[in-house]
Amino acid sequence: MLSIDSLRVTYGGAVEAVRGVTMEVPDGKVVAVLGSNGAGKSTLLRTISGTLRLHRGRVDEGSVRFDGDVLTSRDPGQIVRRGIVQVPEGRRIFGRLTVEENLRAGGMGNRDRAAKAAAHARVHDLFPVLAERSGQRAGLLSGGEQQMLAIGRALMASPKLLLLDEPSLGLAPRVIGQIGEVVAEINRQGTSVLLVEQNATMALGVADLAYVLDVGRVSLSGPAEELARTDEVQRLYLGHGDPAASGPVGRHTRRTLSRWTA
């Protein structure tokens, strides 16, 4: 479905953020991308969603294809219309707009009225709280609700592939667990997901496949379960080589969080 081939991206012609990444998101799967700050995760997503130019970044080599169609020369609007929508890092909801208006804004790239109505019903079904608060200013929602809104807004475009940039950022462990469940549910309904995360426990819990990015390169890749058992992931992302760390979603989130906040 989405295939990235030896991609190299630089900022301002000098800073190399992604150095030869090859990656595959198969149809109907959840793929996790792990990595610490500066590993090139956000750059990768910007390249896919077409917002790289807004950050003065450039694709020097390689390609990004979606169902065979080259995306690297397209603008964000065209990419949304082809079925790829990104939930930006830090949620970036429109705080001065109401919850409903946020969803309307998310559906702007969706020309098919019936699809838009179906997407709207699906969003309210997934996140009943957004239906309850539809007339409220989005800036007044809690952090977790804002993340739900950011995901719901992206779903309004009826994407085939959903890109999530660190949805767990700054959220309470219980809420992170809910986000994980939502991602699994969205995927079950037929949307492929590319999930970029620092919270490896949640990401590996829902993903089928995973990649570990390290300073712009893929250092590890494979089925999520296998990856969770490797020493490197155990040590760097799940904490202290605990063999039980590859357990179900939510079990170790508290521990992972304390590592990051320490």
């Binding site: 949304v80 990104q86 429109f94 707009l97 208006e101 804004a105 475009a157």
Partner: protein, 296 residues
């Protein structure tokens, strides 16, 4: 008291015209992040077109074509200049719009020359009296039409897809782009709407008590800038309040000129700027403006 009420009513009608211009100014700023100084000459272009065409097309035809010309000029400026300079520093863009303004203004002044072109408003130059309060018919029609347009504008801004897209991309352009909102289109439409509003304002600004289209109309149009600034550059509600405030202040200052002689004659013309400075000294981002206008 009658004099005061009369000045107030005339000030409000003038203010409604300023509000039309200021609204355009504000939506351009919101959509394109440009402080557009082309607005004065766009307005003069509208007035000139209406005056020149009314001989052949009749009043109504001239107004319609004049509005189209103004909107088209705004569209061309956006498409061929502003849109291509996306990402340039805000100051450069502002200077560019001043450049465009001077070019357009110079050509219009050359064409108008020393004449005063007449626009044959069907409501003529008569005044009406409402319970002793006098106002020209032109200003009365202006107030009604501007009122309707302003209500329409706010309804569209609140409920239409264009309004939602506009507000979303004004708040966070990159995220709006990620949602598939085409900023180029939002921006172009904002300029077109601003052009039409300026054209309508032009139609009434050149009617009684103003004698007709001359280069002096440009100076009048400029008074909508302080209206937009004092209301808050990114606030549509602020543009409305700012416009009315400037209109009333100007009208009162002109009407009570005899009592204000120590300030010199023609104080009414500088009053908009004095009011703007006074407001900004107390509230630097305007009455309704967002405190932080720059994006991180």
């Amino acid at each position: 008291m009658t004099q005061f009420l009369s000045l107030l009513l005339n000030g409000l009608s003038l203010g409604a015209i300023y509000a039309l211009i200021a609204l355009g100014f504000v939506i351009i700023f919101k959509a394109s992040e440009v402080v557009s100084f082309t607005h004065g000459s766009l307005l003069l272009l509208g007035a000139y077109s209406i005056a020149r065409l009314s001989g052949t097309l009749g009043f109504l035809g001239a107004v319609l074509v004049g509005l189209v010309i103004t909107a088209l000029a705004a569209f061309v400026v956006e498409r061929f200049i502003i849109n291509r300079l996306r990402g340039a520093p805000v100051i450069s863009l502002a200077i560019v719009t001043i450049g465009v303004d001077i070019i357009l203004l110079t050509e219009l002044i050359r064409r108008i020359g020393p004449d005063i072109l007449n626009v044959p408003h069907p409501w003529g130059g008569q005044s009406v009296r409402i319970g002793g309060i006098g106002i020209t018919q032109n200003r009365l029609v202006a107030m009604v039409v501007a009122g309707i347009l302003i209500v329409l504008f706010f309804v569209a801004f609140k409920y239409s897809s264009w309004g939602v897209a506009m507000r979303a991309s004004a708040e966070d352009g990159e995220t709006a782009a990620l949602m598939g909102i085409r900023q180029g289109r939002v921006s172009a439409l904002a300029w077109v709407v601003a052009g039409v509003l300026a054209g309508v304002a032009a139609l009434f600004l050149v009617g009684s008590p103003t004698p007709g289209v001359s280069s002096a109309v440009y100076a009048t149009a400029l008074r909508a800038f302080p209206a937009a600034i004092l209301g808050g550059l990114d606030s549509t509600g602020g543009a409305l309040v700012g416009g009315l405030l400037i209109g009333v202040a100007e009208s009162l200052a002109a009407g009570y000129q005899e009592n204000l002689l120590f300030l010199g004659r023609g104080f009414g013309e500088v009053v908009p700027y004095v009011v703007m400075i006074a407001v900004l000294l107390v509230r630097p981002s305007g009455l309704f403006g967002t405190k932080e206008l720059t994006r991180v």
